[in-house]
């Protein structure tokens, strides 16, 4: 569904992605791991055009993504480390805003779907609350519901639990696990190794702007091939 070939990205003279080639197939759950600064976020942001790449290509169903900005944004949902909920809108409005504005869904219909999504993430009682009243874990669950309201075919997660207090990590991971069960295609940047091992079909290990390993979790965690992956795993496990 997404084909990445020789993807390069520089900020000024700083080359952050040095040629990434990989494929994301429909229904796959992919965990992207690696040291901080290795380019994981930049990779993810290139996938939905929050950054424009300088080299290589990203194709969605065979078409260059650069030309399908609006189409692509409808198909790809994104969840951010810092939630980025709209603070001046209620939880319900946060979720219904884009479906109404972008997909032109009627308000009633959008609200009905939003309430179903809120139910699914266990926050139906918070529909009328403002984001400032929510805990971090609740905010992130709303953010996931907001992205899902656009009925994306792929969901991108950039360290969705890194800004949370430890006791809230679980509730967000649980929502993501439920999403995995629905067959959603997911690309997840994470430092939660246990979670990656459990849900991922493939692990992409990045280091210094390169895709160093692309393996099944069992292989990657038991027998990492490269020394860089071995060193990284020793530090985090």
């Amino acid at each position: 569904m997404i084909d990445v070939t020789g993807l390069k990205k520089s900020f000024g003279s700083n080359e952050v992605l040095k040629g990434i080639t990989t494929k994301i197939n429909k229904g796959e759950v992919i965990a992207v791991i690696g040291p901080s600064g290795s380019g994981k976020s930049t990779f993810l942001r290139c996938l939905n055009l929050l950054e424009t790449h300088n080299g290589g290509s990203i194709k969605l169903d065979g078409k260059e993504t650069g030309q399908l900005e609006n189409h692509l944004r409808k198909k790809v949902g994104m969840v951010f480390q810092h939630f980025n909920l709209f603070p001046h809108l209620t939880v319900l409005e946060n979720i219904t805003f884009a479906p109404q504005q972008v997909l032109k869904i009627k308000k009633k219909e959008a609200e009905k779907e939003a309430l179903e999504l809120l139910n699914a993430v266990g926050l139906a009682d918070k529909a009328d609350a403002y984001p400032s009243r929510l805990s971090g874990g609740q905010k992130q669950r709303v953010a996931i519901a907001r992205a899902l309201a656009m009925k994306p075919e792929i969901m991108l997660f950039d360290e969705p639990t890194s800004a949370l207090d430890p006791e809230m990590v679980k509730e967000v991971l649980q929502v993501m696990k439920n999403l995995v069960k629905t067959g959603m295609t997911m690309v997840i940047v994470t430092h939660e190794m246990g979670f990656a091992k459990e849900v991922a079909d493939r692990i992409l290990f990045m280091d210094d702007g390169r895709l160093v390993e692309d393996e099944k979790p069992a292989v990657f965690f038991e027998n990492p091939k490269t020394e860089r992956a071995q060193v990284f795993l020793e530090k985090v496990l």
């Binding site: 929050l50 944004r73 994104m78 980025n84 909920l85 001046h88 884009a98 504005q101 972008v102 953010a143």
Partner: protein, 219 residues
């Protein structure tokens, strides 16, 4: 010391009526200045280079020349160029609107830039079009940073508005001068005018503080 307020008393209503004129003048200028300033600020943060350049040059010129000069140019130049006599009040409003738009565009730009970058990214990622994002996501949040600064602009305008008396608009200042000239006593009416301006500014300052407190509460 030779002060005589008794002689001023019959003229007090004439002078205080100027409050209405001045407030009307400032309010209309501010609303027009705000609308035009919003457009300029969107030029400044937009992607179109020529509009960015225009808005920056505009701001630079209006901030870099005396207000009274701008007003005299508009007051005398508009009739000369168009053959239309626009009158002192309209010339004053036009000047103040054009001038304050330059300052307000900077206020709004700063307010927009202070909104968390993640808001824009979240909107983009949801496929929300640029215009909708600006109007419904970014600007409402920017208002929180903008309103207090806008209130300051209101106060500045109220004080500076006294220069429209130069082209003969019948504001507080002009009325005080007229009364002074007819009584051959200037100190008393000018003192009264000063008191009125001061009270106006204090009132606006107070209103601004209350507004800030209410904004802070909604966090």
């Amino acid at each position: 010391m030779n002060l005589d307020f008794a002689q001023l008393v019959p003229s007090i209503p004439y002078i205080t009526y100027g409050i209405w004129v001045t407030l009307q003048f400032v309010a209309v200028s501010l609303v027009l200045g705000f609308l035009w300033g919003t457009v300029l600020s969107l030029f400044k943060i937009g992607k179109i280079a020529i509009l960015r350049w225009f808005a920056d040059a505009y701001t630079s010129v209006f901030r870099g020349t005396p207000l009274i000069l701008q007003m005299l140019i508009i007051y005398y130049a508009v009739p000369q160029l168009t053959g239309m006599d626009i009158g002192a009040f309209a010339a004053g409003v036009l000047t103040f609107a054009l001038n304050s738009a330059a300052y307000i565009s900077e206020i709004i730009r700063a307010g927009i830039n202070a909104v968390d970058k993640g808001q824009k990214e979240a909107a983009l990622a949801l496929g929300i079009p640029y215009q909708t994002m600006m109007l419904k996501i970014i600007l409402p949040q920017a208002m929180k940073n903008i309103l207090p600064a806008l209130m300051n602009e209101f106060i500045t305008l109220t004080k500076e508005s006294a220069i429209v008396s130069v082209i003969g608009a019948l504001d507080i200042m002009r009325r005080a001068q007229i009364v002074g000239a007819s009584n051959y006593r200037f100190f008393e009416p000018l003192l009264l005018a000063g008191l009125i301006y001061y009270l106006l500014v204090m009132l606006l300052t107070l209103a601004g503080r209350m507004m800030e407190r209410r904004l802070a509460k909604s966090d």
